[in-house]
């Protein structure tokens, strides 16, 4: 009933109502459209990046001298576990490396061919490890870009021999500098050799796998993959005598993390700007409500004379302000929807899709409601406080 009254008094001056709502409409549109576009763009970038296969789960295992985890365990597991696509061990040691006249201590990593994909490496020349290298324990190696700089310089070294602690290895490939986010973090002053060759040459690696990477097949979330890794390790490695886990699992959803923080900053920034325009819209509403209250002073007097109390009048004008705000909000959301549809047509070939984000819609509805209440309260209270006789005699 009072809702109908509010709608009517808003409807009695449509032009003014629309102009008043304009502030709210623009504010809501700014909020919804900007945040939705940021979300859409982020999603598209994230999708493209994760299609490159840069998401993985990393696990550390403490073996305490026993052979906790072997290559066979991993191979068996990856065969039977549908949530895991590929797995690559990562064993490290250091060794004295000699190439020609140069020699230097360097990190050696023993792994399998899957490592290349999982960590998003890029070859400059030659090849990475092959399955045959693993089966045979071939003494081949691949140099990281910094290792090339340090040992070789600019010459083409594929096919040359290199010695690790006196044992000869053939260089079969050289890695390029990668822009891959996680790769640069590890440094690239590294020499990769087959895991089996590593086990044979470095005695402390023979204790078992301490570190491995796993990826999930497309469509599986990293959370599920991480859970699968945990389940596997809890069965294989278990806990120590005090109940602490003998392993540590870390899910590297790189793009999601990086883009997530960018999106958050952008969303907060844009949301902040939009909120300011919403507040400005709210001030517009307060302004008009004050005018309305003054214009309708006599009406307020009449209402009080026939039995409206302070609360009734307060509610009436507050409701009017809130309805005004919510109508602006609804129109703003509708227009945002139209704009986003339009944007989708425009960027159709850019594999980007903008959708009205539910969260932002809910947020703007709440925000508009709060603004309606805050900026409606003062005018409504002014109306409610009027003395009946003064109001009745206002302006004649």
């Amino acid at each position: 009933m009072s809702f109908k009254m509010a709608l009517r008094s808003i409807g009695s001056n449509k032009l003014r109502a629309v102009l008043t709502m304009l502030g709210i409409i623009i504010g809501v549109m700014a909020l919804v459209v900007l945040v939705s576009i940021v979300n859409g763009a982020t999603r598209s970038v994230t999708d493209q990046m994760s299609a490159l296969g840069s998401n993985y789960v990393e696990a550390y295992v403490w073996s305490y001298g026993r052979k906790a985890l072997t290559m066979e365990d991993l191979n068996e597991w990856v065969e039977s576990e549908p949530l895991i696509e590929a797995v690559a061990p990562d064993s490290q040691d250091s060794s004295m490396v000699k190439y020609g006249s140069k020699s230097q201590r360097m990190t050696i990593r023993g792994t399998t061919p899957a490592y290349y994909e999982i960590n998003g490496l890029q070859l400059e020349t030659g090849r990475f490890l092959k399955n045959a290298d693993i089966l045979n324990g071939s003494r081949v190696c691949i140099l990281g870009p910094s290792a090339v700089d340090a040992l070789v310089g600019y010459a083409d070294c594929v096919g040359d021999e290199i010695s690790l602690d006196g044992l000869r290895y053939t260089i079969v490939g050289v890695l390029g500098k990668s822009d891959s986010l996680m790769y640069s973090g590890y440094g690239d002053n590294v020499i990769y050799i087959p895991y089996t060759a590593m086990v044979r040459q470095f005695p402390n690696v023979a204790e078992g796998i301490n570190n491995f990477y796993a990826t999930a097949p497309e469509g599986t979330s990293m959370k599920e993959a991480e859970a699968a890794v945990r389940a596997f390790l809890s069965e294989k490695v278990g806990t120590d005598e005090w109940g602490n886990e003998n392993y540590y699992v870390y899910s590297m959803d790189v793009m999601e993390n990086a883009m997530g923080s960018v999106t958050n900053v952008l969303s907060i920034l844009l949301g902040g700007i939009a909120s300011i325009s919403l507040i400005v819209g709210g001030i517009g509403i307060m302004n008009i409500m004050l005018v309305t209250v003054t214009e309708r002073t006599r009406e307020i007097g009449i209402r009080k004379a026939i039995g409206a109390n302070r609360g009734t009048i307060l509610r009436q004008f507050l409701l009017e302000a809130v309805v005004l705000c919510m109508m602006g909000c609804a129109i703003g959301i509708f227009l945002s929807w139209c704009i986003l549809r339009l944007a989708n047509v425009v960027v159709a070939d850019m594999s980007m899709r903008f959708a009205l984000s539910g969260n932002v819609v809910v947020l703007s509805v709440i925000f508009c409601f709060v603004i309606g209440v805050i900026f409606g309260l003062y005018p409504a209270n002014k109306a409610a406080k009027m003395k009946p006789i003064d109001a009745l005699h206002y302006g004649g």
Binding site: E299, G301, A305, G307, I389
Partner: protein, 223 residues
Amino acid sequence: MIDLHDITKVYQIGDEKVYALDHVSMHIYPREFVSVIGPSGSGKSTLMNIIGCLDLADAGVYRLDGIPIEDYSEKQLARIRNEKIGFIFQNFNLIPKLSAEENVELPLIYRGVKASERAERVREALDKVGLTHRAKHLPTELSGGQQQRVAIARALVTRPSLILADEPTGNLDSRTSREILDILMELHEQGNTVVLITHDNDIARQAKRSVHILDGRLTEVAL
């Protein structure tokens, strides 16, 4: 039910003090029909606004049903205006945006009456003043007499025990005034207390009791 004792209302206009009511004492009993007459500016409206709880006196005691008016809360006063008192103003005071029936319905909404019962009572009240056929019209689409009848319907729709009419016929021709007065007389016969303000002696003579007011001072008139 209404007991005014030494009521004084003073308006300060510049340096001058205007006594709109000057130590007025008066008693109105239930079911009385009292007319208040006096020239323009004598304080009639001021008196009625105080009786109707729209205004407060500057001095004196106003007891409504035995309780001093200051002891009522704002909410209780609103309730009294809604349930106990029906106002009829000289200038009708209808809400221009609302149709005749919506104007009449408003006091019932404030009272919290159910929609179905509201419709019933609004029809009844409009029927009483003979305006059923104009129910959907806005005040601007009605003549002065019709507007005043809507205002009367609004005043009596809550079945108040006290009807306060402030020059209800002041803006109307004599034939329409007659009709309005007949309605008021009828209400009185049905058991309502009616206070009728007028500056017309002929009209005042209709009442059983008449008081005269001049420069804010009150005298009983023997009829």
